[in-house]
């Protein structure tokens, strides 16, 4: 589904953050992306989310060479990708419920068609009591869960999550991991960037380790 070949990336004139990265993400796969802080995990996720272009190398997503994708097609491709940003990117003036339903709203869906789904998902991530609360009032962990719920809302083909358990306690982390695995069982490919070895040990999944710009893969 996603194919990287000799991908390199540098910011401006700085050093190459990513060097000769080659890997595949098959459909319905589950993997962790790890590495020391500053190794380039977020940068790699941005490449996968089409919000950065590689300085060199080839990226194919959904069977298209991303170098040849016109700007207007990007929204449609992004709709097939769910992303949980490291800093959540929630809109402060919308309630949790509205933030989570945003992906459906921008796709032009009517509220009555998704309302109960959104509420159910919010309850499942433990935000049933926080439906009408604005993000500034939420705790870090609650924001995180809202961001995850938003990424899952439209059933993406691949879910990219940047430190999705960084702000929650171990039981909640396990619960979120369970959610990701459930999602994966239903066919969504999942890529979780994390430093949390305890989390990774809970699942027997592929580990992609970034260090000094190189990527090593352990299955």
């Amino acid at each position: 589904m996603i194919h990287f070949e000799n991908v390199g990336l540098r910011y401006g004139l700085g050093p190459e953050i990513l060097r000769d990265i080659t890997f595949d993400i098959p459909a319905s796969s589950f993997q962790f992306l790890t590495g020391p802080s500053g190794a380039g995990k977020t940068t790699l996720l941005k490449l996968l989310f089409l919000s950065l272009k590689p300085t060199r190398g080839l990226i194919r997503m959904f069977d298209r060479d991303i170098a040849s994708i016109p700007r207007e097609d990007l929204p449609m491709l992004r709709r097939r990708i769910g992303i949980v940003f490291q800093d959540f990117q929630l809109l402060d003036h919308l309630t949790t419920y509205e933030n989570v339903s945003l992906p459906l709203r921008v796709r032009g869906k009517e509220e009555h068609t998704y309302r109960s789904d959104v509420i159910e998902l919010l309850k499942w991530v433990g935000l049933g009591q926080r439906i009408n609360v604005l993000p500034p009032v939420l705790s870090g962990g609650e924001k995180q869960r809202a961001a995850i719920a938003r990424a899952l809302m439209d059933r993406p083909e691949i879910l990219l999550a940047d430190e999705p358990t960084g702000n929650v306690d171990p039981p909640m982390a396990r619960r979120l991991l369970g959610l990701f695995r459930e999602l994966n069982r239903q066919g969504t490919a999942v890529l979780i960037a994390t430093h949390d070895f305890a989390l990774m040990d809970q699942v027997d999944a592929r580990r992609m380790i970034l260090s000094e710009g190189r990527l090593e893969i352990f299955s």
């Binding site: 089409l50 992303i83 003036h93 059933r155």
Partner: protein, 333 residues
């Protein structure tokens, strides 16, 4: 959504089922678009634009009416002289003028009318017989086929040496050129006011949008198309600009209405006459009000369009950063 369907229901599910939510809040909160400054700018600019537009059309109409009034009439002036039968001379002049082709009528301005004409200078208790005042014959002519002025003038001076013909031609010519200059200047001012308005609206709209980049980004990243994001913002700007330009134009229309009402009410008072002489009548006519309405629509459209283009541009910049990581002033995920 099926993820949730297949997961075990949390215990609070029944109790809280379908917890009430407020109606969807607007994606772009109106408080984020700092509308009041923009609204004021738009109102002022549209007021000025309408005022200029009204002014120009007024001068134009006035000049045109002066021109046609003056060129529709010529006057024969007969100077008094000793031992001179003024009444006979006046009758002769009228008959002579009436005999010319192209003349549609000739009337002698009677004594009352003459003294009324002189009243501002000589006072009300004027006995016209005691004073050697010149008398007038007003000759109306067919504008499209005017009489031969030179022949008329010749015939007149032969018969009545004291008579002189004023065809107002110099006046008409002066008026025409003055009106043209005024309209040209007014049009120039109108162009300036409109350009200033366009630029102000553009800058004010950009300013009002600049704080909302984060919203644009988030919408873009959850898969919104550029046109969707632009529509969300556009709505606000359409409302603001309609309010602003509506207020400005209404004020301008009110101004013209009040002015024309004042003028008609105080007709023939010296102040009003003065204003009429200077500005013409204040009525801008229905065409003027149509112009004001058009100005309003133009301003509203312009603001909305600027908002749309600015949002589109912001999205374009976000996508540019994608291909140029050095400019990563965007999201720092």
């Amino acid at each position: 959504m099926s993820v949730a369907e297949k997961t075990p229901a949390p215990p609070e599910r029944k109790r809280l089922n379908d917890g009430a939510t407020r109606p969807h809040g607007p994606i772009v909160p109106s408080a984020n678009v700092q509308g009041s400054a923009l609204l004021a700018v738009i109102a002022i600019m549209s007021f000025l634009a309408c005022l200029t537009l009204g002014g120009v059309s007024m001068v134009r109409a006035t000049a045109a009416s002066w021109q046609s009034q003056i060129s529709r009439e010529i006057t024969i002036q007969i100077k008094p002289d000793d031992n001179f039968d003024m009444e006979k001379a006046l009758n002769d002049a009228r008959n002579l003028a009436s005999s010319f082709v192209g003349v549609t009528g000739a009337t002698i301005m009677d004594k009352q009318a003459t003294s009324r004409l002189l009243e501002p200078w000589l006072g009300a208790s004027l006995d016209i017989d005691e004073l050697p005042v010149p008398r007038l014959v007003i000759v109306t002519i067919d504008e499209s086929a005017p009489p031969d002025f030179a022949a008329l003038r010749d015939a007149l001076s032969k018969k009545i040496p004291q008579a002189s013909l004023d065809d107002h031609r110099t006046w008409v010519n002066r008026l025409v050129s003055m009106a043209r200059t005024t309209v040209a200047i007014g049009t120039g001012v109108l162009v300036l006011v409109f350009s200033a308005m366009v630029l102000t609206v553009i800058f004010a709209t950009r300013g009002a949008l600049s704080g909302n980049r984060h919203i644009v980004e988030v919408l873009h990243f959850v898969g919104a198309e550029a046109s969707f994001v632009a529509n969300e913002f556009q709505k606000h700007f359409l409302i603001i600009s309609l309010k602003g330009s509506g207020a400005g134009s209404a004020l301008a229309a009110l101004f013209f209405m009040l002015a024309s009402w004042w003028q008609s009410r105080s007709l023939a008072t010296p102040a009003s006459d003065q204003a009429t002489a200077l500005f013409g009548t204040f009525s801008v006519g229905w065409l003027g009000y149509v112009g004001i309405a058009l100005t309003m629509i133009l301003i509203a459209g312009l603001t909305t369009l600027t908002a749309r283009l600015t949002v589109m541009r912001t999205i374009y910049e976000i996508d540019q950063i994608r291909s140029d990581p050095a400019r990563s002033d965007g999201l720092n995920t």
